[in-house]
Symmetry: C2
Subunit: 402 residues, 2 copies
């Protein structure tokens, strides 16, 4: 899986928006049109009736990411709920492409949400670290990709997953056996023309790229984890991910019935905006485009004060008169992700939008929220030992009954 | 690896000869022009000076396959000998694509020769069973490919390999870890355009085919077997195989120096002719085109009497007058592979070619030779237990010192 948008040289300023696992760019380099994306990809909008259903089923308020539309699209999430209502368990699958040592806040989004799903549904979870993908796409050595995978695993564990229900694996360590057999079964069902259409591969691409989609598809099928699911083929899979990963799972869903599996269901998020504004995801090549979990309180303050794009007006006078443009304001967007208190968020939006609150005040609140969140993460990560990493990554049975 | 020629529907009657791992057809459907093939592929002819050098180095007469030109081409076999002369050990790598339960005589050729090489050079050997390849190309299930791989392993073991120096593995069981890491390293160095050029893949081919060449390439590098070679990167590899496998190893040789390995050396054989004559290899779809190691003495007699293409003349009178055409005579070709006594072979060729021996007499001698060879194989295979298969396929250190 890929966590950052690596725009190809000729990727920007397309006439149409382009969303692939390696390229995210809006029409004419502008904002992503998510409604259009749902149409393009053929997924469903995640509407409030589904959110209500989740709350009813779990007996707890929905996660802010769910009730605020951060996870805004899905494929057959309703079927997962329907089966769950009938007493049928499913499993969760998410992942990360370990291309960098430190995660930024956007990287945490799927993991924070997946932890919520694991908690409320009490289901097993597999987390794939695609060190092979990053070795192939990023020109990292095998050893460096493996090192980054293990470092990233610590950040993931720090999100609080239940070790009795969570299996973290890196492809370089885990590919083989039942997993490789599923890779081959999947690869047999997909033609070269199809992957060219889905992923945009060209003749100059190396064959590692063409070989990779089955690696990311395989965890969607329970038999890829015989130590967890035995030989069961009928366990359903739910994949929380950013919507740029949809092409992999469109391919997987196409293949699933031919191999005798349920199609994996998806619950898909918006991209987390860069500090500079929302025209894509964040760029790994510009450290000032994102807040990292390794940033100090001072870094966070500096970055937000200096780089977070403001929807405030050019003068205080105009601001008081017209109010902030919340559509483009990054501090408000970040608060919409991470400020848990709904009433406070609504109040900020109202006051800021009406010009009664200034950008500086909003940024100050954001700095507080992110500093304490990052500090909490830093402490949790510092408590993750090598032994805990080994334990999460051990090939072992999980508690799949509840 | 593929052991039989699976001609594509439009493969026959090409204007030029086509030799790929899946298609073997001579120009206009006729005989293979091996000299031309050496030119096309860019390998070297294995001349008598190299054979002499092997005899001198090993202190024993060269194998009939070597002194009679069955193994007729090579790539850097001279470098292997040069290094060996300096006291540097190498390892052998060969393989089989397990597409059928029973092997035919052509399948035995590389294994008989590899056993000779192992015996005289006292070097370790890895044998790859490409059950993944056959699952993908032959539309076999994973389970059936695995079953065939294990059955074929018994026939291979029956060829007499030294268990202290031989590791047999199937891809479905062994791909992973260091081996998978090398697959990825190799895949990164080869473009889609290159494999299309080398193997003739087209857009309608499934991506499993595109993913496979690195699987067959990986055993050429010693680090794919850390239990045998540890982390050593400088151990040379010699690959005995039929020449249709050359495309895989041309690709591998191209990649090797970029990854810090020696290019694998090759020693390549002619195709074993079908009973009906020499215009390619044998067809798995026609059981009467080949002698199988499971054939009874009666089967062998029937097949040779009925189907072995004769170079004898239409009448006894003409035969006595003109002699047999040894160029097209299949019984003589088969004897050239399997009759060990050089003097007797020379005598048969002389007498038969002069018309003093009749086809029936030559066929009778061939029936004797093959019946006893197949009977010997049958007994050896019957003695191979499941435990022996497990032992040969166990991931373990080998005796690599002598």
């Amino acid at each position: 899986m890929s966590g950052d948008a690596d725009r190809r040289e000729n990727g920007a300023d397309n006439e149409e928006q382009i969303i692939t696992p390696w390229e995210v760019s809006g029409k004419d380099g502008g904002k992503i049109d998510y409604d259009k994306l749902i149409d393009q990809f053929g997924c469903q909008k995640l509407d409030s009736s589904l959110v209500d259903r989740v709350e009813k089923l779990t007996g707890v308020p929905a996660h802010p990411f769910l009730r605020r539309g951060v996870f805004f699209a899905h494929r057959e999430f309703d079927k997962i709920l329907e089966a769950y209502e009938k007493g049928e368990k499913f499993y969760l699958y998410t992942g990360r492409g370990p291309s960098s040592e430190a995660l930024h806040l956007g990287h945490l989004v799927p993991f924070m949400f997946t932890k919520y799903l694991q908690d409320v549904f009490q289901v097993p979870l597999v987390i794939q670290l695609t060190d092979d993908e990053k070795c192939m796409w990023k020109n990292l050595t095998v050893e460096e990709s493996q090192r980054l995978a293990r470092e990233n695993a610590k950040d993931i564990i720090a999100c609080g997953f239940d070790i009795t229900k969570t299996f973290i694996f890196s492809d370089f360590n885990y590919v083989g056996g039942a997993f490789y057999q599923n890779m081959v079964r999947i690869a047999k069902c997909v033609t070269l023309n199809q992957v060219r259409g889905i992923f945009g591969f060209v003749g100059e691409d190396h064959i590692g790229k063409v070989s990779f989609p089955p690696v990311q598809a395989a965890p969607s099928f329970p038999t890829s984890f015989p130590h967890i699911f035995g030989k069961r083929k009928d366990t359903r899979c739910l994949i929380p991910c950013a919507i740029d990963q949809d092409p992999y799972f469109r391919m997987t869903r196409d293949v699933a019935p031919r191999l005798g599996y349920h199609k994996p269901a998806l619950i898909e998020s918006l991209f987390f905006p860069a500090l500079q504004g929302e025209s894509g995801k964040m760029s790994a090549s510009d450290p000032n485009s994102a807040i990292y979990v390794t940033d100090s309180a001072k870094d966070i303050k500096n970055k937000i004060m200096k780089y977070a794009f403001s929807g405030g007006r050019d003068t205080v006078e105009n601001h008081r008169k017209y109010g902030a443009n919340l559509e483009v304001d990054v501090p408000v967007k970040y608060l919409s992700f991470f400020l848990e208190n709904d009433a406070e968020l609504a109040n900020i939006k109202q006051e800021y939008g009406a010009g009664r609150m200034l950008t500086g005040e909003v940024k100050k609140r954001l700095i507080d929220v992110l500093s304490s969140m990052v500090e909490r993460h830093r402490k949790a990560r510092a408590a993750v030992t090598e032994e805990m990493v080994d334990a999460f990554m051990a090939i072992r049975p999980l508690n799949i009954l509840g």
